[in-house]
Amino acid sequence: MSGHLTEEQYKSQVAAVWKSTLWLSIITVVEVVIALTLGHLIPKFILNLFFVLASVLKAFFIIAEFMHLKYEKRAFIISLGVPLIFLVWALIAFVVEGNYWLHLNFPK
């Protein structure tokens, strides 16, 4: 970021932050309301998928807008994003293993 901002740039950045705040609040409220009311009606798998996607969306708002990553150079964003592929792989591998333990210990 450069040292000087025009008044319009400043105002649009402030507005963008408040907009992200509003989105974050709305998503959180919707998540909690759904967890409390629809918890028994919707299949667990779909419910959890919704929670995961909503959380990833919240993470996007925080990283892109609050941490200002959206405005950095593309090469920098890629250098931070690509290593996260390992985490996705670790999550899949471990969840599959955990599921295997379940069936090993508690066969139907």
Binding site: S2, S25, V29, V52, L80, P83, V95, N99
Partner: protein, 247 residues
């Protein structure tokens, strides 16, 4: 000659040297300062640490046939002794942490326009939010410990219908999965430690802004770096909230 002087003045304002000819030296290929770059890569490594904890949690939880229902475990609210407010208190905590993060973003923005008073005010509110969050977490831990939750003992077990019940009064058939306590205290504790560290760093930033140290440097980059750390703490909470309270 006149041109040279102009460039010098430009450097005086907080701005990175612009020419990027790939020859190294002072120019930066990514157009981001060294300090911020290093903070980002530290946060990336910290993300791996947190992910290791959360992935362990997911693995253990999925390997269990039964797990305590968060709507039952986290239903207490301060000053309402026998209230049944599932997820109420933790929603307040989440909201406070988001607002605290927003306050620090505002401080960074005021720093860009060299508004010292604005930086100080918003940093102050950011710190208030962080301290409030820590207080809430202390209360919640205290409450769960009183209910009998320990790192190696979990009183929230299933009753005959499979609903989450406190084992204390022998209502539940058995105590719950043992790992629940260790994972809960371990992960929320590690996050709480980050919040505490962040509050300390933000206090340092507040003092530096208030006594004009950053203003004399001609830029508020320190606030930006502290801000990155603080937003990361908020970011991690999104996933801790997901793992322990929503799912």
């Amino acid at each position: 000659m006149a041109e040279v002087i102009e460039i010098k003045e430009e450097h005086h304002v907080h701005q990175l040297p612009t020419p990027n000819n790939g020859e190294g030296g002072e120019s930066s290929a990514l157009n981001i300062s060294y300090g911020k770059t290093m903070m980002w890569y530290f946060l990336l490594s910290d993300a791996f640490t947190f992910s290791a904890f959360l992935i362990s949690y997911a693995t253990i939880r999925i390997s269990q046939p039964w797990w305590p229902d968060p709507n039952v475990v986290f239903k207490s609210f301060p000053f309402m002794a026998h209230a049944n407010v599932p997820l109420g208190f933790v929603s307040v905590m989440t909201f406070v942490l988001i607002l605290s993060s927003v306050a620090v973003v505002r401080a960074v923005q005021e720093g860009h326009r060299m508004n010292q008073k604005g930086v100080v005010t918003w940093m102050f509110w950011g710190i208030v939010g962080g301290v409030f969050f820590l207080g809430c977490q202390a209360w919640e831990w205290n409450n769960l410990i009183h209910e009998g939750l320990r790192p190696f003992y979990n009183p929230f077990g299933p009753n005959e219908a499979g609903k989450t019940t406190l084992f204390l009064e022998k209502m539940a058939m058995s105590p719950g999965p043992v790992a629940f306590g260790a994972l809960f205290f371990g992960i929320t504790g590690f996050h709480g430690f980050h919040v505490f560290t962040g509050v300390c760093l933000n206090v340092y930033g507040l003092i530096g802004a208030a006594n004009g140290t950053f203003h004399k440097r001609g830029h508020y980059e320190m606030i930006e770096k502290l801000g990155l750390y603080w937003h990361f703490v908020d970011l991690v909470w999104v996933f801790v909230f997901l793992a322990f309270y929503l799912m």
